[in-house]
């Protein structure tokens, strides 16, 4: 059976040679563009509330016969204590693979795969989500299975053993990849080893992860008072509300979940390194910065774009890659955190003898942006980039709904999106210099290097690691991959 309505219409049109080269302006700046007016969609236009108070964001579109339903819960690995690190993440995985109260794991998997329905349950540091993507034609059947997973997970012991086995193999590989070591030790330096951002599952905490503890964690996180729903795809809004009301019947609310805790440790400036025998050194340089809702957020956002966040147009990429060819990628990142100050950092990877030189070039850029106001041209480019790409935040219904959900549960101040472009445009060179001086002091930063330390320390004729912190450096021992206990290395 074919549907003529959906059959493609391929036109092969040969266009005549009415070449109009005379019309091509000499430079791209001479082009004139039609104005693009765009007002960001308002979350309230998409927000509905179920009888029990659960917020539901809905944005239907009939382009494809698919439906996506996502549940976002507050919670995440920050709820694990040191002894049970990994519990929430593994609970999420087992919810998907461990069957339900009435369906054995293999039965559930077969049914979902046969329906071609995708369901995932995942925990991040600060949220847990369950989502489903199915064909419109089997929405009811898929949603029934989805709700069964969400409300009555089976936590099958045999599947838990499989997951634990995978976790053990995953742990074994922890020291294989230098980037993994870099990320782990950077979190340790920034937040301290006892903060949840730094903690990771170990052979010991794995033993504490049991179906009973998972059930308790599930009951704590998965309840309507802790939930925001979003739905996109090909569906009817009134029917969807009725479907959700029906599925939520008898689902009791639990206690509210506390906010993620702020770290208590402070970062100690200095040079740190982990010895690994690879031809490139991998480097991060940075420090704690500010919270997302800080008044200095906008100047920092623009600063980062000019300094190292803006790809080839940014100063660090030009200095380290374009001018010197020292690295394939070199950039900076500004990661403000919702709940406590996040970090600002620059990073790159370079062959051992030029690691110190690249650090020096980045240091020079930190100092320059503190010393001199940014040029009006650079500032204009950065602002234009934010303003012109602004509509992309809402380009697909899914990405738009994700923003609305995340804004609601992280309590983003009202009007953030409607005033976004104004706030970007009001950032001045003085603002940027002020925040650079306040938050980007190289003497307060940590430099973390993973690589072959002797040639890295020696550097080349233009720079060596002696240039930083009087040549002092602290070796961070490699950690045992299973226990994360530092290994006592032979002196290097």
């Amino acid at each position: 059976m074919t549907r003529t309505a959906t059959i493609l219409s391929t036109l092969l049109v040969g266009i005549g040679a009415t070449s109009a080269i005379a019309d091509i302006p000499p430079r791209p700046e001479n082009l004139v563009f039609a104005p693009l007016t765009f007002e960001p969609p308002k979350a309230s236009d998409y927000r509905f509330v179920l009888k029990d108070g659960t917020p539901v964001y809905m944005a239907p579109s009939a382009e494809f016969p698919l439906v996506t339903i996502s549940f976002t819960f507050k919670g995440g690995s920050y709820l694990d204590d040191a002894a049970t690190t990994g519990l929430t993440g593994m609970m999420a995985s087992l919810m998907r693979s461990g069957g339900t109260a009435t369906l054995k794991p293999a039965e559930l998997d077969e049914q979902l795969d046969f329906l071609a329905t995708r369901i995932s349950v995942a925990a991040s540091d600060t949220s847990v989500s369950a989502s489903m993507n199915c064909l419109k034609s089997n929405l009811d059947e898929s949603f029934r299975l989805f709700m069964d997973i969400v409300r009555n997970p089976g936590f099958d012991q045999a599947r838990l053993d499989v997951l634990k086995g995978e976790a053990v193999e995953g742990m074994k590989q922890r020291n294989d990849n230098a980037d993994g070591i870099l990320g782990r030790e950077w979190a340790n330096l920034l937040y301290g080893e006892d903060h949840f951002e730094s903690r990771d599952i170990t052979a010991m905490s794995l033993q504490e992860i049991t179906p009973e503890r998972m059930r308790a964690q599930h009951a704590r996180i998965f309840h309507p008072a802790n939930l925001i729903v979003s739905v996109s795809g090909d569906f009817d809004k009134a029917q969807m509300i009725a479907r959700l009301e029906n599925a939520f019947a008898g689902w009791t609310k639990g206690e509210p979940i506390p906010d993620p805790p702020a770290p208590t440790a402070t970062m100690k400036p200095g040079v740190y390194y982990v010895q690994k025998d690879i031809p490139q050194g991998k480097v991060v340089i940075g420090m704690r910065s500010i919270k997302r809702d800080d008044p200095d957020f906008f100047p920092m956002l623009v600063l980062n774009d000019i300094l190292g966040g803006g790809g080839f147009t940014s100063r660090i990429m030009q200095s380290v890659r374009s001018n010197e060819g020292l690295a394939y990628s070199a950039n900076s990142r500004f990661d403000p955190n919702v709940w406590y100050p996040g970090d600002f950092r620059a990073g790159f990877q370079s062959k051992s003898p030029t690691v110190a030189l690249a650090i020096k070039l980045i240091d020079d850029e930190f100092n320059r942006i503190r010393r001199e106001p940014v040029s009006s041209e650079e500032l204009a480019t950065a602002k234009a980039s934010f303003v012109e790409t602004f509509p992309q935040n809402f380009s697909s219904k899914d990405s738009m709904l994700r923003l609305f959900v995340s804004d609601e549960w992280t309590k983003r101040p009202d009007g953030y999106w409607t005033t976004f472009r104004e706030k970007i445009n009001s950032v001045s060179p003085e603002d940027i210099q002020r925040v650079a001086q306040k938050y980007l002091d190289p003497s307060q930063m940590a430099i973390l290097v993973v690589g072959d330390w002797t040639p890295i320390y020696e550097g080349n004729e233009r720079a060596s690691m002696k240039n930083f912190f009087d040549g002092n450096a602290t070796q961070i021992p490699l950690r045992d991959p299973m226990t994360l206990v530092p290994i006592k290395n032979p002196a290097k």
Binding site: I15, F33, E110, V168, E169, K172, N323, T389, D480
Partner: protein
């Protein structure tokens, strides 16, 4: 066990004939450049646009391996308009550098290679092994590149700045400052490059995700732009195709060397994957890496690059793509006026004539790596759109996923693998089917290989069930929709399909997959998954050198434990020897006893060893 209706009878959940198709408008300019337009309005205000050069590493030959990828880098360096403030001066710099580098290459290929072949130097390209003449040439080349980039007098400036820092005398300080100022002004005046201007123009206009990739068969350049900026895209892309200059041709290789270090040399298995790939392909152009062999990367000349450009970057070998929020009747005249200016190539790209030679014996690679022990078996199969490619695709799906055969037998059943997967990869001129798995616990790559062999035999001996087959087809049908949702992703798929044959494969594939029968699957398993047709790579973990340095009296016993645990155990033994508090050990032992049952299998031996050591230490302390 409850049987769901759907699993009792194999019913399709969606008929592929009904599947949504990509509605594209295609046309060809007079100069031979083709365009494929897909207007979609569900994602307003943005357009994804790109162009494809139907050239990849398979079109290269020894001596210029990696040049397709290097071109990808060159394409961002600008033209006589973009990327320079003085095109005439810039051309002079480039000519000067070309002559110097030609001489460096000639000397290296003759003298340095000869010294290398005699065993006098370890690397003919390493500047540390330069002859005095090469040193001099290299210094001149660097000076020219520095001047072009506004970095002239670098050494002199560094010296003056150091002097300035030490100088106390006010008059002398002033003098040095004036000198620095003068040199800096002179350096700036001689600069001809505007760094990364190409990127800046797009950034200012709201372009995002600008990038490109090179593979064995194709090179693709892409960006997302606001929907009112289509003409900017046409301006920028037709300019770089019309008037590309090979700016920074020599300095950019340092970046590519770093990219090679990053992607190939600093990853756990990168250099091994590269060797396996080059062993697997016997005769075809797939046997060298896309990024190229390092000695070739050092050797490219401008002439070679220009020849390559004239053959492969001409409009008859290019295809433009536009996907997103636009009206075709509005952008077609823009495309026409900008891209029609590209001059047609003088000759058609030469055909790829070397066919992949049929292997007559199994190949093997045994590697020691800093990674999980694993195995990969790879068989020679068929190219893109070959009639058997669809059955091979379905076969891979039968093996994959949580309800796939590999999970059921190797991950859940015998528990020898922590993950396992199959893949059918069809390239333009040849194909490969591979099955790989990583070990779990104490399993060995040999066990994984035997288990994979058994799965293959089963596919050859028995027909797959109707239920299994229909499940995979249902998923393929649903995925037909899923893969069309994102503009950029859709555009990349269209470009890849067009490079390998035709973009229409996107629309035709679903029905061809749906037509595959259980007999087809058995037939391709018997035809292609044979012993002489395969290469096997086994990876075992390299013994950790850094962690075995401090051997103690327990070393023989510790050595029997899984290698990744040995260091931790050694450390614990040391700390235990220093522990004076018997109560602490007693408490720890009690805790261990209570956990004895739940210790995962791979850790049992280590657990028992520690328990023994702790009991011994406790006894020691109690005797005191």
């Amino acid at each position: 066990m409850r049987l769901l209706a759907a699993t009792a009878v194999a019913i399709a959940v969606v008929a592929p004939a009904q599947a949504q198709k990509v509605e594209a408008e295609t046309f060809v300019l007079d100069n031979g450049m083709k365009f494929i337009l897909v207007p979609r309005h569900d994602q307003p205000n943005t357009i994804s646009a790109g162009w494809l050069a139907k050239v990849g590493s398979v079109n290269e030959r020894p001596g210029i391996t990696g040049i397709s990828h290097f071109f990808e880098h060159m394409m961002f360096k600008g033209t006589n308009t973009i990327g320079t403030r003085d095109p005439k001066r810039d051309a002079e710099y480039r000519e000067e550098q070309k002559l110097l580098r030609d001489e460096i290459n000639q000397l290296t290929w003759s003298e340095q290679y000869a010294r290398y072949f005699r065993g006098e130097i370890d690397d003919p390209w390493n500047p540390a092994n330069d002859t005095p003449k090469l040193k001099e040439l290299r210094a001149k080349l660097k000076a020219s590149m520095d001047a072009q980039q506004g970095k002239a007098y670098g050494d002199e400036l560094a010296r003056l700045k150091a002097e300035l820092a030490k100088e106390a005398d006010a008059a002398k300080t002033e003098q040095i400052r004036a000198n620095i100022e003068r040199l800096q002004q002179e350096a700036a005046a001689n600069t001809s490059i505007v760094k990364d201007e190409f990127d800046q123009v797009y950034t200012k206009a709201g372009g995002s995700g600008m990038n490109a990739f090179t593979s064995y068969d194709l090179t693709f350049f892409f960006i997302t732009i606001p929907s009112n900026k289509f003409e900017l895209w046409a301006w920028m892309e037709s300019d770089r195709l019309n008037d590309s200059v090979f700016r920074e041709f020599f300095s950019e290789r340092d970046v590519v060397h770093e990219e090679r270090r990053l992607r190939t040399e600093s990853t756990p298995t990168g250099i091994f994957d590269e060797q396996f790939e080059s062993m697997f392909w016997i005769s075809s152009g797939y046997s060298w890496p896309v990024i190229g062999w390092p000695s070739d990367l050092n050797s490219y000349t401008i002439e070679e690059a220009e020849r390559y450009w004239d053959l492969y970057y001409r409009p008859n070998n290019l295809v433009g793509f536009v996907v997103g929020d636009f009206n075709p009747s509005e952008i077609k005249p823009v495309i026409q006026s900008y891209f029609n200016r590209l001059k047609p190539g003088r000759e058609a790209p030469p055909p790829v004539v070397t066919l992949e030679h049929k292997p007559v014996a199994e190949m093997r690679m045994n590697a020691e790596v800093e990674a999980q022990p694993s195995v990969e078996i790879r068989w020679h199969t068929v190219p893109f759109r070959h009639k058997d490619s669809y059955a091979l695709e379905i076969l891979a799906s039968i093996l994959n996923g949580r309800t796939g055969r590999l999970y059921k037998t190797m991950i859940e059943g015998t528990e020898i693998a922590s993950n396992a997967g199959a893949q059918s990869e069809t390239r333009k001129y040849a194909g490969a089917f591979s099955i790989g798995a990583e070990t779990k616990g104490t399993a060995t790559p040999a066990q994984l290989e035997a288990a994979i062999d058994a799965e293959v035999k089963r596919l050859q001996d028995e027909l797959v069930s109707a239920q299994e087959l229909q499940k995979v087809k249902n998923q393929n049908a649903a995925n037909q929709y899923r893969r069309l949702q994102n503009n950029m992703f859709l555009m990349v798929q269209l470009a890849v399909a067009e490079a390998m044959g035709t973009w229409q494969e996107i629309n035709e594939q679903a029905a061809k997959l749906d037509a595959v029968t259980a007999e087809d699957i058995q037939r391709v398993a018997r035809t292609y998954l044979t012993k002489n047709n395969r290469a096997v790579a086994t990876y075992v973990r390299k013994a950790a050198s850094a962690t075995t340095a401090d051997a103690g009296p327990d070393d023989a016993e510790i050595a029997k434990l899984p290698p990744q645990m040995q260091a931790g155990i050694r450390d614990m033994v040391k700390r235990l020897a220093q522990e004076q508090d018997a109560d602490k050990i007693r408490a720890a032992l009690a805790q261990m006893d209570s956990q004895g049952e739940s210790v995962p299998e791979p850790m049992k031996a280590a657990f028992e060893f520690m328990r023994k050591k702790m009991a011994a230490r406790l006894e020691q302390l109690e005797k005191k």
